[in-house]
Structure formats: structure tokens, C-alpha cells
């Protein structure tokens, strides 16, 4: 919801750098989309010149191709492999250290390694990622069990959302109800037009930045254009899940032959879980130094497609690709409802694009939930 002090204004593209400078002056390190290793990637952003101006991309199952599209826009593309997840739930981080060199002559002592985090301003967050962030906030910051590592990064983060105008063929946020329009969870919101941006604030922090900018009043025709673009973005999406809550159809089809059909193609590589903005599984490991004097305890991203994820003493519970894929889908689209009150899928389509063999969650869910071949 728009903050009551917020105005809906126009920021010419030629003045975008001023937004970055005001954020920097307010103490934020800016993070924004940039071209990196043939994809659009989020990284520290020093200047508007590094934004992916003129770039667009094509995505299909198992394929992503970036190209120069010959326009002036900064955000005329749909999400690349990552956005907010790695900034908050980092792929690998030290949790604590144990040592046998202790001050009080104890034989063993422990030290928590909470990160020092500079306040980040993330420019370009999409609706699907904000929906995923809401789920991660619920997971990592639930009452009584707040994760101090996640919290240290989350608490000072400023989010500048951009409404999507160029969904990929793999995007299906309209069907999950999570996009392409961002409706919550951000401080500032941008709608991109040919010559600039409609800008509005949705928090005190956002208003504080917006009021410092030299902006023009937004005209009714500009607002209309912006609105049409997002509506068209939703209309262009062709993929979708059969329903928002698939708990029951999935439970009814636990022995559907299609699980085995997917297993023939699935590599159990876990790329889908690594790019999924809502997956949060991790494993923990210790790295002692060679002389044995201290050891650092890490957590790192793990996946239900890895063997150790379902290993209990003496046995691996999910020892086939079919069981692993089933675990993933029935959790994400099924039992997630019980756990978080909604589906674990925000329709970002990343698992479709970044699956090396192009397995498509929307297609597989359709077949399995239809129960057609129920045995």
C-alpha cells in the first residue's frame, strides 16, 4: 500500500543516477542488476551506467539467452538465476568457531560469528522475489526462533521494487497470484516507461529518499501507460499451476507413474532448489584447521536432491531420483500450505529455466495432479 505521505511522481531516466547517489549518501550500499557471465545478476552497483540498459533475454526450459535489444530501458527483462535469496540466506557462511585456546583456561570455548552488515539498498526487486522474501522472513524470523545471521542482513535492507513489463516464457507469477505487479514488501516502487520511471514510496524510509529527489509530477497518461504495461505482462504469461493449493491432488497421486517418468530425465543435480527463491534447506559442516587448535562451523545451501539430505544413521531414505523429485514437489506445492499458509511457489519460473534438462514444474504438476494415470 502506498504510504500516506507518498506522492506518485516521475523520474526521468537521465536522472536515475541521482537516486543511487541519494541512497549512497543515506549510508546504503547499492545492489542492482548487471550483466555478468552471460546473465543478469545482482551485485554491488556503483553507478547507473552499470545497469543492464538495452538488454533483454529469452528463457525456455533449460535455456537462457541474453541479447542487446536496442532500447534504452534498464529493466526490460525477467529475473536471472538469483535475486534476493543469496543476499540474505547466503550460500555459505560461518556460524561459530570453537577453540581450545581459551582465555579462562577452559579446554574448549565457542564464539558466535554474527556478520557485520552494511545497510543494503536493493534496486530492481521483482514481485515474485518480494513474495519469496515474505516467506523467508516468516521462516527465518519466526517468533522465538529468529535466525541472527539472516536478521543481521535483513534488518537494514531497503528494497526498491520494479514492476515487470517483460516476463519470460517461463514466468507464471500471475497464476500463483504473486506478480507481475509488486503489491507489498518494498520501500520504493518503480514502473519503467520509455523515458523514465513512475516512482512512489511505501514506507517512511522510502519517503525519506523520494523527497530528496528532484522529480516531476506524474501525468495521468504516464500512469495509464505504466498500468497497461503490467497488465499486459500478466496477460502474456502462458504457464500456470493447476490450482494455488495442490496439497490434496498431490497426496492423492503419490504413486502416479509420472514420478518415474520425471526421474528418467531428472539429474538429481539440485539446480532447481538452488535457484528457487523460497528453498531454504542447508547442511552444516565443520572445518578444523590442521593443527586442531580451532574449528569453524559453517552452514551452506543443501538440497533435497542430495543424498545426505535424507540420510539417517545407516540408510538413505530417498535413494531414487523419483523420490527426491516427489519430496521437492509435494513439499513446495503441497505440505508448504500447512507449514506457511501458502504455496512455496511464487511462479518465478527459475527452476524451469535453470534445470539443465528443462524439467517444467507446471507441466509435471499438471500431469501428476490430473490423476489420469492413477494406478
Amino acid at each position: 500500500m502506498t504510504n500516506k505521505n507518498s506522492k506518485v511522481e516521475f523520474l526521468p531516466r537521465s536522472h536515475f543516477q541521482e537516486l543511487i547517489e541519494h541512497l549512497q549518501q543515506a549510508g546504503y550500499t547499492c545492489v542492482g542488476p548487471q550483466v555478468h557471465e552471460h546473465a543478469i545478476h545482482y551485485a554491488e552497483l556503483a553507478h547507473a551506467d552499470f545497469l543492464p540498459q538495452g538488454m533483454s533475454e529469452e528463457q525456455s526450459p533449460g535455456q537462457y539467452r541474453l541479447h542487446e535489444a536496442g532500447h534504452d530501458r534498464y529493466f526490460a527483462w525477467a529475473n536471472g538465476p538469483q535475486a534476493l535469496k543469496p543476499l540474505l540466506f547466503t550460500p555459505r557462511e560461518a556460524l561459530w568457531q570453537s577453540s581450545n585456546n581459551c582465555e579462562d583456561n577452559a579446554s574448549l570455548c565457542f564464539k558466535e560469528l554474527i556478520p557485520e552488515q552494511r545497510p543494503l539498498a536493493v534496486i530492481g526487486a521483482r514481485a515474485c522475489d518480494l513474495a519469496a522474501l515474505y516467506i523467508h522472513d516468516k521462516h527465518f524470523l519466526q517468533h522465538g526462533y529468529r535466525d541472527p545471521y539472516y536478521l543481521a542482513r535483513r534488518k537494514n535492507m531497503l528494497l526498491i521494487a520494479v514492476n515487470c513489463t517483460h516476463p519470460a516464457d517461463t514466468c507464471f507469477c500471475a497464476s500463483t497470484g504473486d506478480g507481475p505487479r509488486a503489491t507489498y514488501g518494498y520501500d520504493l516502487l518503480l514502473n519503467e516507461l520509455d523515458d523514465g520511471f513512475i516512482i512512489e514510496s511505501h514506507s517512511e524510509k522510502g519517503v525519506a529518499i523520494q523527497t530528496q529527489l528532484n522529480l516531476q509530477a506524474a501525468e495521468a497518461s504516464q500512469l495509464e501507460q505504466a498500468n497497461d504495461a503490467v497488465e499486459q505482462a500478466a496477460a502474456r504469461q502462458t504457464r500456470g499451476l493447476p490450482a494455488q493449493n495442490l496439497s490434496q491432488p498431490l497426496l492423492d497421486n503419490l504413486h502416479h507413474p509420472h514420478w518415474e517418468e520425471v526421474a528418467q530425465r531428472c539429474l538429481s543435480c539440485g539446480n532447481c532448489t538452488a535457484v528457487c527463491p523460497t528453498c531454504f534447506c542447508h547442511s552444516e559442516l565443520d572445518e578444523p584447521v590442521l593443527d586442531g587448535s580451532h574449528s569453524v562451523h559453517y552452514r551452506q545451501w543443501d538440497s533435497c536432491f542430495c543424498q545426505k539430505h535424507s540420510y539417517i544413521h545407516g540408510m538413505t531414505i530417498r535413494d531414487t531420483a523419483g523420490l527426491r523429485y516427489r519430496q521437492w514437489m509435494t513439499h513446495k506445492l503441497g505440505s508448504w500450505h500447512e507449514q506457511f499458509g501458502r504455496s512455496g511457489c511464487v511462479g518465478c519460473g527459475r527452476c524451469i529455466t535453470w534445470c539443465p534438462v528443462g524439467i517444467d514444474i507446471t507441466e509435471e504438476a499438471k500431469v501428476i495432479c490430473s490423476g489420469d494415470q492413477h494406478d
Binding site: 555478468h36 557471465e37 552471460h38 546473465a39 545478476h41 533449460g62 535455456q63 537462457y64 539467452r65 541474453l66 536471472g80 538465476p81 538469483q82 543469496p86 550460500p91 555459505r92 528418467q264 530425465r265 531428472c266 539429474l267 538429481s268 543435480c269 539440485g270 539446480n271 538452488a274 535457484v275 559442516l285 572445518e287 578444523p288 584447521v289 590442521l290 593443527d291 586442531g292 551452506q300 545451501w301 543443501d302 538440497s303 542430495c306 543424498q307 545426505k308 535413494d319 531414487t320 531420483a321 529455466t353 535453470w354 539443465p356 534438462v357
Partner: protein, 271 residues
Amino acid sequence: MATDKNIKPKVAVHKFSSCDGCQLAFLNMGENLLTLSTLVDITHFAEAGPVDEDTPVEIAFIEGSLASPDDLERIKHIRSNSRFVVSIGACATSGGVQALRNMANTKDWIAAVYASPEYIHSLDCSTPISDHIKVDLELWGCPVSSWQMLQAVRSLLFGAKPEVLNDKVCQECKRQQHVCVLVAKGEPCMGPVTRTGCGAICPAMGRACYSCYGPAEMVNPESLNQRFLGLGLLSSEASRRFLFINSGAPEFHKQGLKCKPASSDDGNLDG
């Protein structure tokens, strides 16, 4: 490893058919090599100096594949002298790049390469250590990394079971936030069937993994091969992705032979 604090555990590093690259993972440890020398007593390590294959040791590291009749005797002797046998590198764990000859006629090519073939005593096949003796721990890689060696030594010194990495390279690649070279560039990357441990160094350089760490757990080479064909590789090119550094690993061997067309002219792979 329950040991008296004052008695340093003995360690040996043995070499069989190999390029010595894995032994360098010890020698390239830098400061850790000095620390290691205070923690253990290295009784045999020909490349670094000490030679004594007879003293019983706590840990024997084995580099190289078994390729000659003498090797078969030596490895039995080492096993009987060692508490833990750790095979290191592609040669010792899968037969190495030299296992490519397992698919050819050894006699023919020995005759073609050597002026006096009668001096060459090679077995028909280059095989991994575990084909011949019980191996307690396998560290894959061509070469293994110093990090793997340090973790294994430290765990054994603590008396703990060393962590065996068996996930796919994709896991580490994604943790390091690299963009998938298969999806974004159409490179025939072996990451989805390859064991992690290298730190995803090839994708980090924008190139496809060629599986120097061998097969991960529960791989699906058939599906990945299908994807390679979809990227435009000929089936002989796809088969070479599997029949390379770890051609002796059963999962890769089977897939490589399956997709190699009979008419292909790339050497005598079928023997």
C-alpha cells in the same frame, strides 16, 4: 586415531602409474606442510625424499593406478602394512586417463609406440586400487585438492570419519553464484554428473566441467547425454565427455560406450 600424544602417527605416500600431480597437493600446502610435519612422521614419500615402504604406518596415501604385474604385489604389501589406505586422485580411484587403453588392444599400441616392446610389462588394463585391495577412503580428483587432503588428515588425527563429498558440482557452482554455462551458453557441462570437491573451478572460468572428479552419487548419464545431443554434439563427441579422465568409472564407462556409434573413427575404443 587413538594415539599417544608423544608418538607421532606414521604416514606414507605411495606412487603407482600417475603423473605425480596429486602428490603435489601435499607439496603445495605451503605453511600447512610445516604444520603437518610436526603432527605426523612421514616415513615414505619418494617424491619429497624419504624412502621406506616397509615400516608399518597409520595412513597410506596411494596415488596412481595399477598397471603392471609388480604393482599388484606392491599394493598387497602396502595394505598389510597400513591401518588406513586412502586412494588419491583419478588414477587411484578409477584407473585414470590411462584407463582409456582398457578399451584398446594393448599389444598393438605398445608395438606401435616402443622400439623394443619386449621390455614393456604392462597389464592389459589400468585399474583403480579398490579393484585389488580394501580401500578405506577415496579422494577423487585430477588432481585432488590440498583442501581435501588436509580435511582427511585432520579428521583421521581426531579419530573422526572424514567427510566424503558426493554431491554434484552444480551444488558448489550455485553456492558460488556462477551462472550455469550449460543453460546460459549451451556448453556441454559435466557438472550435473560430477562429484564436487574442486570448487567448481571450470564453470567459474566460464567453461564446461570435464569431470576430473568422476561420478557423483546417483548420476543419470543417459539424461545428460541426451541433453548434449540436443545442444548439437555428435554422439561420438558426447561419448568423449564420458570416456575421458574417469573412463574407468563404471557409470561413465557404460554411458560412453553406449553413445559411441560403431562407425566412429576416433581410435580403437571398442578394442
